[in-house]
């Protein structure tokens, strides 16, 4: 399709992508209209709106929305925009309210979005409160999978189950690690930003070749660390993680699988075992956790759950999560060269309380704004964006292990952990959204 002189489909070739896909504001605007306004976008978790009246304000692409549990108990995703003059109605990021009152003229909405009251109703030909169009509009579709709430701004398209497909099993993995089969958002939110395109973030998360270069400084600093030095647990987990980032290329080739699926999704398998990360068998808290899991689900089922070793699962276009330490990231595009990432932690219901401490420690090292690991990723995104200002070389290369993806019995394809298959797979989805 040609729009403003852009032949979008031609910007993506099998093993290369045109620089404009990352650097052209016109492409970015089209991505907001065609990808973020169509795909199922992760909005939040039901535990963030536990009681009727609880709300959490966020964005779908650039559009402000609010996740709310209404008086009828239903979780809704409403557009956060007053029907009167267009102001944001919910200005706080999270909270609890009996109703939502706009700051400008006091138009007031029920928690289901319907208009409750306006000042001077006699000034209107018909009562605004009787007009369903004058509410906080619900987004076209919203649906929940095991507590994870997604929304789509498009009325048409595949349903959520179809969209998630096989990678729903990664959400299952995260939920089922909780002895009570339930998670709750806890422990605060990191909000980090970088001067680069939104797509770089998920591309990097499942890129098994970057750690040895990007993270060399933290890998080697961690390798040189004296393990007899005092730790309260923070250094234990962080140093382990940094060292694991230095795994040899051969490990990524032989031990790690990169699985790709329709709609641009992917996950990395078997990067970590619990043993590598938390010294599972020797940690008394983890032993208590295993015992709780076995009590709840039986020994065999507990073993099967803990044997799942997935690293990041990417839900295209802008969500990534990791079940072993129960982290989830939402990538918010701000501009073609500016992105914010919000990261969340989940507490497992039914697990020993101290298990969450390791989630926090892990979050600090992989998602922390001051992390010795993450900061080198953010710097790299900025350098990519700056480099892509060069107009002469038009293409960037996504050719590693091109056309070596093998069909997988799970319905997708599998490559080894050094492939760029996940990037090509995201661009296959990109072309579908952008040219449909």
């Amino acid at each position: 399709m040609t729009t403003t002189g852009l032949d979008l489909g031609s910007l993506v070739r099998g093993e290369r992508v045109h620089r404009r896909v990352y650097a052209d504001p016109a492409v970015f605007d089209l991505e907001m209209a065609r990808i973020f306004s169509r795909a199922w976008i992760y909005v939040g978790h039901e535990s963030q709106v536990r009681r009727a009246g609880d709300y959490y304000a966020t964005r779908i692409g650039r559009e402000p929305v609010v996740l709310v549990r209404s008086e009828d108990g239903r979780v809704r995703v409403l557009r956060n925009r007053c029907a009167h003059r267009g102001a944001l109605v919910v200005a706080d990021e999270r909270g609890h309210a009996a109703d939502f009152r706009c700051a400008y003229h006091g138009w007031t909405y029920r928690t289901d979005g319907s208009l409750l009251a306006v000042p001077l109703p006699q000034g209107y030909a018909a009562a605004p409160t009787a007009d369903p169009a004058l509410g906080l509009q619900a987004v076209a579709r919203s649906a929940s999978y095991r507590g994870f709430v997604f929304a789509s701004l498009a009325a048409d398209g595949p349903d959520l189950a179809t969209f998630l497909g096989r990678v729903a099993s990664s959400l299952d993995d995260m939920v089922e690690r909780a002895p009570d089969d339930a998670l709750e958002v806890a422990g605060g939110v990191f909000k980090h930003a970088y001067d680069g395109n939104w797509k770089l973030y998920l591309e990097n998360l499942n890129d098994g070749v970057h750690p040895n270069a990007v993270h060399q400084s933290s890998v080697e600093a961690a390798r040189a660390q004296d393990d007899t030095v005092v730790t309260d647990g923070a250094g234990e987990i962080a140093v382990r993680q940094m060292r694991q980032n230095g795994a040899a290329y051969g490990f990524w080739e032989k031990e790690v699988g990169l699985f790709t699926f329709p709609f641009g999704h992917s996950y990395l398998s078997d990067y970590h075992t619990d043993e590598k990360l938390v010294a599972a068998k020797r940690d008394p808290v983890f032993a208590d956790y295993i015992a709780a899991l076995e009590r709840a689900k039986g020994r065999e089922r507990a073993r099967a759950i803990l044997s799942v070793g997935r690293w990041n699962t990417n839900l295209y276009p802008n969500c990534s999560f990791m079940s072993q330490f129960r982290q989830l990231r939402i990538v918010h595009p701000i501009a073609v060269d500016r992105t914010e990432v919000h990261t969340f932690n989940f507490r497992m219901r039914g697990a020993p309380a101290r298990m969450f401490h390791d989630t926090i420690r892990f979050a600090n090292v992989v998602n922390g704004t001051g992390s010795p690991v993450l900061t080198d990723d953010l710097e790299t995104y900025g350098r990519i964006q700056a480099g892509l200002q060069a107009q002469g070389p038009e293409w960037i290369n996504t050719a590693r292990q091109f056309a070596r993806e093998r069909p997988d019995q799970g319905g997708g394809h599998v490559s080894d952990g050094t492939s760029e298959a996940h990037i090509r797979n995201m661009f296959a989805a990109w072309v579908q959204y952008m040219t449909a």
Binding site: G188, Q216, G233, G235, A238, N364, G370, T375, L378
Partner: protein, 182 residues
């Protein structure tokens, strides 16, 4: 973490007899503590990171919370929460030639003020101060400000830092990566 090790001599400072406690009080004047904090800031501005690390006790913690008034470093994420082991790794990385996030390195200059000194438990001293810091790196300047809380213990003629907590005024903001020390 079964392999977590705690130093047997967790407190590097011997339990002080009365006479020493009196001498601590004499030494821990507001002027002496302020001098210590200013010297600490200077070490960071001059990128003398190893000398700065040497100010910390063997069981020290270094904490930059992510929320105003954050109660706990284990129940809530932190911009930085380092025990001694992680702090050593962090400082070692700052010297690594392949530290992309500090290539080129940040230049900083900071002002320390409003120092308040109070006695704390176990012969320690609690010092609260405010700071403002300008960070410059690659054509960008960032302004940092906040309140620092030091737990100091006497060591010879000066002090060591047992705990340092830095509450940034914008700790819960959207932030670009942080690779400087506060």
């Amino acid at each position: 973490m079964a392999s977590r090790r705690r130093s047997k001599s967790a407190r590097p400072v011997r339990r002080a007899p009365t006479g020493r406690a009196a001498s601590l009080r004499a030494r821990a004047t507001p002027a002496a503590v302020e001098r210590f904090l200013v010297d600490e800031a200077r070490l960071l501005d001059e990128r003398r990171f190893e000398d700065w690390l040497a100010l910390f006790t063997a069981d020290a913690t270094y904490w930059v919370p992510s929320e105003p008034g954050q109660a706990d470093p284990l129940e809530t994420i932190s911009l930085i929460y380092d025990d001694r082991r992680l702090l050593e790794t962090r400082v070692r990385r700052l010297r690594h030639p392949a530290i992309h996030a500090q290539t080129p390195p940040s230049r900083t200059t900071r002002l320390i003020g409003n120092v308040i000194v109070a006695p704390a438990a176990a012969g320690a001293i609690a010092a609260t101060s405010t700071f403002q810091m300008v960070e410059y790196r690659r054509d960008k300047q960032r302004l940092w400000a906040g309140r620092a809380h030091h737990v100091l213990v006497p060591a010879g003629p000066t002090f060591r830092i047992r705990a340092k907590r830095i509450d940034l005024v914008n700790c819960d903001s959207v932030l670009d990566g942080i690779s400087v020390l506060f």
